[in-house]
């Protein structure tokens, strides 16, 4: 039987089923639905007085072995940035759901947008990448949170799950039978007898994790440049090597998630993400109905930018990027400020979603 529900509900439920055990947050619109659902569902809920406290509590909880989640929107997220950098440096797993709304600044709290990608791509000082996944449809509200949480654990890193107001607040008919069983995330703590070194990755790139307070091993965590033991070392080789490793682990191990719908013979590839996916899928369906050949790439791993996207785009003489911001932030992320000849962008929209007709017209104009 069909039901009507919103994305906020699925996100909160999927997080808990995946093993997230504490929600921390300040209820900013339009993430407040996730906050409310989480208060009814998470095994523990902490109502923080502000977003800096939110992230610091999350870091403390994560250091103690919990798997915390929060949801926010730009004004709150902006307050979290220094603390996200801290958690990144300390290598603390956590999930931050960023629900986009129209900016700049407080902008319009109840209006959706896709305006936050550019700043996400430069969020970590030093230019290190932070894993960012993006929800494309209602089913992704269920599928992506567990993947994001597992990534946070596997990479020992904060992970951002990007979405927007229209995705989490719009109620939609939905067949619950589409929901797969969520497998709880797999998590292992260090249990060797050799002394634990908080930032020793061994043969890999990600050090094993051990919560503070361990009875046997000393655990050291720090946000300052440090060696494998977690001792502050400034510009000593051991410290810089650790800082380099932080980038490498994210580049090497962030899962690649995308949905590619290719049509043989198509010369145009539409590339989109997030809330514009619905319009792009409608546009593709309408064009194909009229005999126009067109392919669609919906990207879910936004950062770090996977090479695979370039390999796919290289196969097409025409690329159309569709997104709900003025600059074409995805286009700039992929190609810089001067777009190659074959690339065009549907990005006139702010304050309302990109419409299927805008995409169709742009494809036909070429």
């Amino acid at each position: 039987m069909p039901s009507i529900l919103d994305g906020s509900r699925l996100i909160a439920e999927a997080c808990v089923q995946a093993g997230a055990d504490v929600y921390v947050g300040y209820p900013i619109t339009p993430s407040n639905g996730i906050y409310l659902y989480s208060s009814h569902r998470f095994p523990a809920m902490l109502t923080a007085p502000d977003e800096i406290t939110t992230l610091q509590w999350m870091a403390g909880l994560s250091a103690a072995g919990r798997l915390p989640v929060t949801a926010t929107s730009f004004p709150g997220f902006a307050l979290m940035i220094e603390s996200i950098n801290m958690a990144y440096m300390m290598e603390l797993p956590m999930l931050i759901i960023l629900v986009q709304r129209l900016g700049p600044s407080t902008g319009s709290a109840t209006v959706g947008a896709q305006g936050d990608l550019s700043f996400l791509s430069g969020l970590i000082s030093g230019g290190h990448p932070l894993p960012v996944f993006c929800i494309a449809d209602l089913l992704d509200c269920w599928r992506l949170p567990p993947i994001a949480l597992q990534t946070a654990i596997n990479l020992r890193s904060p992970v951002v799950l990007l979405t927007s107001k229209e995705m989490v607040m719009t109620e939609r008919s939905f067949d619950m039978r589409q929901l797969d069983v969520v497998e709880p995330v797999a998590r292992h703590f260090y249990n060797d007898l050799l002394p634990y070194r908080s930032y020793d990755p061994g043969d890999g790139l990600v050090p094993p994790f051990l919560p503070v307070g361990d009875d046997i091993h000393q655990v050291r965590l720090t946000a300052s440049t440090h060696d494998t033991q977690g001792i502050l070392v400034s510009v000593a080789d051991a410290g810089l090597e650790n800082t380099r490793r932080l980038e490498k682990k994210i580049e090497a191990h962030t899962p690649l998630l995308y949905d590619l719908d290719e049509q043989e013979g198509a010369e145009t590839l539409i590339v989109t993400y997030g809330i514009t996916t619905g319009a792009a899928r409608d546009a593709v369906r309408a064009m194909r109905k009229r005999g126009r050949l067109v392919s669609l790439l919906v990207v879910q791993t936004l950062l770090p930018v996977p090479d695979a996207y370039y390999e796919i785009m290289d196969r097409y003489p025409r690329i159309l990027l569709a997104e709900e911001n003025l600059q074409g932030q995805m286009a700039r992320l992929l190609f810089g400020h001067r777009l190659p000849e074959k690339v065009c962008v549907v990005n006139k929209n702010i304050g309302k979603m990109v419409e299927p007709d805008q995409i169709i017209q742009e494809v036909q104009n070429r």
């Binding site: 069909p2 902490l46 909880l61 220094e82 229209e166 091993h217 720090t222 619905g278 319009a279």
Partner: protein, 424 residues
């Protein structure tokens, strides 16, 4: 060397931080606490370079945020683990909110504020805790602002145990009490930075400066109450709360139809749209529903957008509505631009509102139907009544489908029975 120390302490000769650290270690030893049962969280500042000397767990975070960071750990760790936060006067000023919040919740940790009267690492600037009269690099004639009375503030916020001390005297006793306290404890230690402060303030005594502004030394005890620890509850699935709608009707709709319901906040617009969406679902249609209203929620317009479709709906924006239902003046005012932009479709409006507004629609394919919604149904029921009227007259959905959803909802109690008699 103590079992708590793996390296000598890194502080300048004569620095009060050394005394605080040594006394902390001494008390932990006296209490026979295992180093692995201590998490030392340090802030930014000279006190924070203690990490590498300690055999405890160590966490070194951001400037001013260490109390919140430590609170996160203390909420989650078992009671036998001792979270101690070392912070300076600068960090305590930055993170005052974190101190108050941890005290308010009575989080089980001990904060030791190393108040050496200035920012030692950046050249000796005064903080929010610097005593008046104390001379610093940027105030060589002495600080003039009154300090926060940190001890009073956290005491008032709900701390279990608070103490202001000098580096000598009863600091040992205070540390012991703090570590034994189940709940939030704070010790403010008044020191004078040995490198940047002592020469400028040779003639001053901290005890006297504190006395002049009535910052008393000694302790404050809070009410005995449980410390704050994270609970763990099993709660039922959010999926259980989703209503399954049985498909038992059918719709005459072909393709897709976007409906806007334009009314006022507090007049049941969103509820009416929700029930309408459920009715469409019961007719086997795909549906989306969203609302927009001012952030104040209880005043001004309230607009609901519902899309019905025989096919799955990927794009759920409304480029142009096919049907606009107007049930209040605020709803009309807010959506007039979209109504005027319509090229085809129907506007169903409350008669009085539409006629009073004297709106002329030029588009030949836009029809206007006026009915008495507000007078007939009352303000609170105008939206649901308008929907019933519209679907009855057009047959887009069976009236029974919406009536059924109304009857299954608590809203039915508030609708006068005679209103339903129009919709057999």
């Amino acid at each position: 060397m103590s079992e708590f120390l793996v390296r000598p302490l890194p502080y300048c000769d004569g620095c009060g931080h050394r005394l605080v650290a040594n006394k902390t270690v001494q008390v932990l030893e006296e209490l026979q606490i295992n180093p692995h049962d201590v998490v030392m969280v340090s802030d930014i500042g000279c006190h924070g370079i203690i990490d590498k000397s300690l055999a405890t767990h160590t966490v070194h975070g951001l400037h001013g945020r260490s109390v919140a960071l430590g609170a996160g750990m203390a909420m989650s760790l078992p009671p036998n683990k001792n979270v101690i936060v070392f912070i300076g006067d600068g960090g305590a000023t930055i993170g005052l909110q974190h101190l108050l919040e941890a005290a308010r919740r009575n989080v089980d940790l001990t904060v030791v504020v190393h108040n050496n009267m200035l920012y030692g690492m950046t050249g000796g600037q005064p903080s929010g805790l610097t005593l008046p009269g104390y001379c610093t690099a940027i105030a060589p004639q002495g600080n003039t602002l009154l300090p926060y009375d940190l001890c009073q503030l956290v005491h008032q916020a709900g701390a279990s145990y608070v103490h202001r001390a000098l580096t000598g005297g009863d600091l040992l006793k205070a540390l012991r009490k703090a570590f034994e306290t189940d709940g939030f404890s704070l010790i403010e230690v008044l020191e004078s930075c040995s490198e940047r402060g002592k020469k400028l303030n040779e003639h001053l005594k901290l005890k006297d400066l504190a006395k002049q502004v009535e910052l008393t030394l000694g302790e404050w005890r809070g009410e005995t109450r449980p410390s704050f620890r994270l609970s763990k509850e099993n709660k039922s699935s959010l999926i259980n709360g989703v209503k399954d709608v049985e498909v038992e009707f059918s719709s005459s709709l072909e393709g897709r139809l976007a409906v806007m319901i334009c009314g006022s906040a507090g007049e049941g617009v969103q509820k009416a749209a929700e029930l309408f969406a459920q009715a469409a679902l019961a007719c086997g249609l795909h549906v989306t529903k969203k609302g927009s209203y001012p952030v104040t929620v209880g005043v001004g317009f309230s607009t609901a957008e519902v899309i019905l479709s025989q096919d799955p709906i990927d794009y759920h924006g409304i480029s142009e509505p096919g049907v606009v239902i107007v049930t209040s003046q605020a709803g009309l005012d807010h959506n007039l631009g979209r109504i005027r932009a319509m090229e085809e479709g129907t506007v169903w409006s409350d008669e009085k509102i539409w006629l009073d507004a004297n709106i002329k629609i030029d588009a030949p394919d836009v029809a206007v139907a006026v009915r008495d919604f507000r007078g007939r149904a009352g303000l609170k029921n105008a939206a649901i009544y308008a929907l019933l009227t519209w679907i009855k007259e057009t047959g887009i959905l069976p009236v029974d489908s919406l009536l059924k959803m109304i009857m299954q909802d608590s809203i039915q109690k508030y609708i006068p029975p005679e209103l339903f008699r129009e919709f057999p």
